[in-house]
Amino acid sequence: MDYQLTETQQEIVNIARELGEKKIKPVREHYDETEKFPWDVVEDIRKADLFGVYLPEAYGGLGGGNFELVIAAEQLARSCGGIALSALTSSLCALPILLYGSPDQRKKYLTGLATGEKLGAFCITEPASGSDATSMRARAVLDGDHWVLNGIKNFCSGGEVASTYVVFFSTNPARGNRGISAFIIEKGTPGFSFGKKEKKMGIRCNPTYELVFKDCRIPKENLLYKEGHGLFVAQGTFDLSRPGVGAQALGIAQGALDETLAYTRQRRQFGVPVSSFQAMQHMIADCATAIEASRALLYSVTRAMDRDLGPATEKAIKEGITVADAMKALGAKRWTKESAMVKVLCSDTAMKVTTDCVQMCGGIGYMRDFPVEKFMRDAKITQIYEGTNQVQRNEIGMAIIKEAAAGAVREAVAA
């Protein structure tokens, strides 16, 4: 399928694909097995200029948008969903800073993230606060010119290896939804340390850590956007970041199908390649169809988002305001529904396709010597993080009912 990429976009795809084939494939099993962070591949991704494809040129990026991010992530994840995440977790830190950061914060933090010299991470989860972010207990209290942070956050993807963290704290527990604020914290700040490292089912090379804050003092200006707007920052970020998870999922699905096609075409039973059996062909057809449909939605939604994000970013840089405020000023819509749809479709596709790929490969597909089972393990997280697919469906359902209600009101008025 020709998605009419520009010359630059095609180069992003080519470079990410070549990097995946030459640098990721040979080491993916090693990093999955050892659960070590792939610093050497991160260096390759950095040298290939892939870290900043979606960030403005003013901060050392390529000047692309969400579309550039997803096409790069898809190709990296096609070789390894875990290693691709080492770049994607950085984008989940850069996006809230891009959207809600002040001009000074953008300049200070995005530059290192765009080149890949610094890695970023994002953490909102707590042991007792997952989908319900309002139940968070970690506290930030203003003390003169500093915020004092206390509490435990967990399940932080890219924890410990990242230099820059966007973390959410309750600044006013009495205010619930309006009592949460986002902060930018740098590794090495006294009082900020790393707790337990999780042992995971998939994406095992990407470290998932507990973040521990004990009287950690950060400058007042490290507050991201406004006090009490943390949940808004998180939701606005997820609106634009979920396609990144979709791209990771899509890459995983495609990579599993690539491996499965290669295997089923050469594996012979009853004197013929097993791919010549119609039972197999129907499974291949379903996988390929689901992948292409997911890709079509992912690409069209991110392209539409970029038509808002591009001008808003330009306006924000020119006028010295936040991108989020610029989007509002330009009348940009919220992308909650569409980004949730992308994430649900791509991640459900990834789970279904990778499961079917293990099935098509038979016994060897289940073995860890063969790459397909890893794709299945890596796929599962994409249905869970950045909002479970159940939460995504809530968002989609709610948005559709709101749209229908608004339409009903309009019809009533017209009548």
Partner: protein
């Protein structure tokens, strides 16, 4: 001190399995092509020398207009500019004549150090570094697995031999043929690729190089390819059956005796 380095690359089919037509010519039209894999090591070494000594790397390729693709691919990795040697008069030139074209271009480009890959994946003659050095009347070493020391005036290299390694020092200008043991080629960067699209690639014809058309092409070549045939397919292997390792070993010994290997 800065040094003017040139690296010679060729555009070759990406696959080594190609058809041979009725006229005995290799059919490569329409096949995916790329930079000759052995040349990637030469490009990498040229870039490393440039990073160490300063200076520039010029990519030189002789071929049809499409060869510009591989010149730009090498520029994307960090080379500075390129020269495409293209002229219908060059068509059909043998190794020696092609080398005479390269030599004329390298002289015109004022290169002081010329790097080549071991051989190409299509012709695979492996003659180009030595022929080119002969035309230039410069010292040359092929089979280089390491550049041990480099300066503006000379180069010390390790040449891999069947029975060991020679360490040789060449005065510049010189020609060096590298082998794949020498380095691990880098991958292109996005910014490199974008810059490569706009990089200058000069085109030189026989006339630009002051070459005599009578000494070029198939007619001007002292050698001629008289026949080509595909490499015969590898015969199927033999699986020795048997219930136990002992039984299998016995059967294997029988087979080896039968074939008069033992």
């Amino acid at each position: 001190m800065p040094i003017k380095i040139a690296v010679c690359v060729k555009r070759t089919p990406a696959s080594t399995s190609v058809a041979i037509d009725a006229a005995g010519k290799v059919q490569t039209k329409g096949l995916p092509h790329g930079i000759n894999p052995f040349d990637e090591y030469a490009v990498e070494e040229a870039l490393r020398l440039k990073e160490k000594l300063g200076g520039t790397v010029t990519v030189v390729s002789a071929g049809e207009a499409e060869a510009e693709e591989v010149i730009r691919a090498a520029i994307a990795l960090g080379c500075d500019d390129g020269v495409l040697l293209s002229d219908p008069a060059f068509a059909g030139s043998d190794g020696s004549v092609t080398a005479s074209v390269l030599a004329a271009a390298l002289r015109k480009a004022e290169a002081k150090l010329v790097l080549f890959g071991k051989e190409t994946t299509d012709g695979a003659s492996g003659q180009m570094p030595a022929f080119t050095a002969a035309w230039l009347d410069w010292p040359s070493v092929i089979g280089v697995r390491k550049v041990a020391a480099a300066s503006e005036g000379e180069l010390t290299v390790e040449r891999l031999m069947e029975d060991g390694v020679d360490t040789l020092t060449l005065s510049l200008p010189a020609v060096v043929g590298v082998i794949k043991e020498i380095n691990e080629p880098r991958l292109p960067s996005l910014k490199g690729k974008m810059a490569a699209k706009k990089a200058p690639v000069t085109k030189w014809t026989a006339a630009d190089l002051g070459l005599d058309a009578a000494k070029l092409g198939a007619a001007g070549s002292p050698t001629e390819v008289v026949g080509l045939e595909p490499v015969p397919a590898r015969p199927a292997g033999l699986v020795i059956a048997g219930a136990t390792p002992e039984e299998k070993a016995k059967a294997l010994v029988e087979k080896l005796k039968e074939a008069k290997f033992i």
